[in-house]
Amino acid sequence: MTEKRKAVALISGGLDSLLAARVMMDQGVHVEGINFYTGFCVEGHTHAIRKKDRDRPKRNNALWVAEQLGIKLHILDIIEEYKDIVINPKHGYGSNLNPCLDCKIFMVNKAREWIDDHGFDCIVTGEVIGQRPKSQRRDTLPVVARESGADDRLVRPLCAKNLPPTRPEKEGWLDRDKLHDFSGRSRKPQMALAAHYGFEDYAQPAGGCCFLTDKQYSVKLADLWATRGKREYELDDIMLLKVGRHIRPGPNYKLIVGREEGENRFMEGYRKRFVHMLPTSHSGPLVLLDGEPDNNDIELAARLTARFSQGRDAERVIVEVTGKNGESRALAVKPYPAEQVPASWYL
């Protein structure tokens, strides 16, 4: 009896990787999944933070896909290694700070290391020619295979017929005729295949899973790098870019203003590391001051904090200001008029 061939599939939680893995399983291949956690994933964090999202039924889509397929899923923490991809992408960025091509090469390379360590035969992705403007083009798919070192061990079952045969096809244990020839941005072939397999409740396909593709998020990350004078970040930095209003009145500091109860609760965990403010005479948001504000800045920040409190129309609002040393003082301030907050302050 011949040993069952083994493939690891990159599982994002979306439809394409679900189908790609399923197509391989149809040919009797043993499939396990890998999911990468970069810190920029939309899923998970934002659902946990915002109250309106906490009330929704929540699931990790990659785990949901694994359950649908009946396969193991290995979730890899690549936060530290991924920084170099975000900061120095060899192939550049997409329309925002999304290094999609470098990201795909990096992840396929990590999968290649994984299959070498675990004795698997090939890597599977849900890529489709022409699906994405940066990373899934006819000219970039070979770049991913080559620069990741996966070469002909990288199988794209959804568009395989549009590509040269891979090693599993050449070795005869993967039937090319049973693979697919999808191309372009249309989702209809994937939806038809999903219906064929009886998948219904899958996550909305294609995109939206990484904050780096989001324009506003990229603006905030670029601002963080510009004001710190260096292109670096820690996990906490990129987490805090996901929450609150970010208001920068000056280059030396910005305010992070909680927008609702869930965000305020999340930001509470960061209080001790920042000068922070909380209105006490009226209900209002927790505000973190990121940077090195001077006394004039503290006064202005307190007025902005008051502007986002229930006392925004009051003559005076009491704002408690707490330093990084834990010492607090109360400031009575006139709320900053909303119409006078320059639009350029909002990141």
């Binding site: 946990a48 699931r59 193991k72 290995h74 979730i75």
Partner: protein, 74 residues
């Protein structure tokens, strides 16, 4: 019983910490995971199901969720 402190971490980090801890355990061993992200109540049992581990107990007290797992066979 081995314990993992994943408090103040947001999913999927509690799942990853659980996965890393289970890797060093034997079938039949138990693991206690402490977390605060309510998402872990869904995600850790889902991860256990796909890997064949058993969730023995989920206990919520104030803000801390304690999930007890018995490791299954590889």
């Amino acid at each position: 019983m081995k314990s993992v402190d994943a408090r103040c971490l947001l999913c999927p980090l509690p799942v990853i910490r659980t996965q890393d801890a289970v890797a060093s355990l034997q079938a039949g061993d138990s693991l206690e995971v402490l977390c605060t992200d309510p998402g872990a109540i869904h995600d850790i049992p889902a991860w256990c199901r796909v890997h064949g581990h058993e969730v023995c107990d989920i206990n919520e007290q104030e803000d801390t969720i304690t999930i007890t797992i018995r490791v299954g066979s590889p």
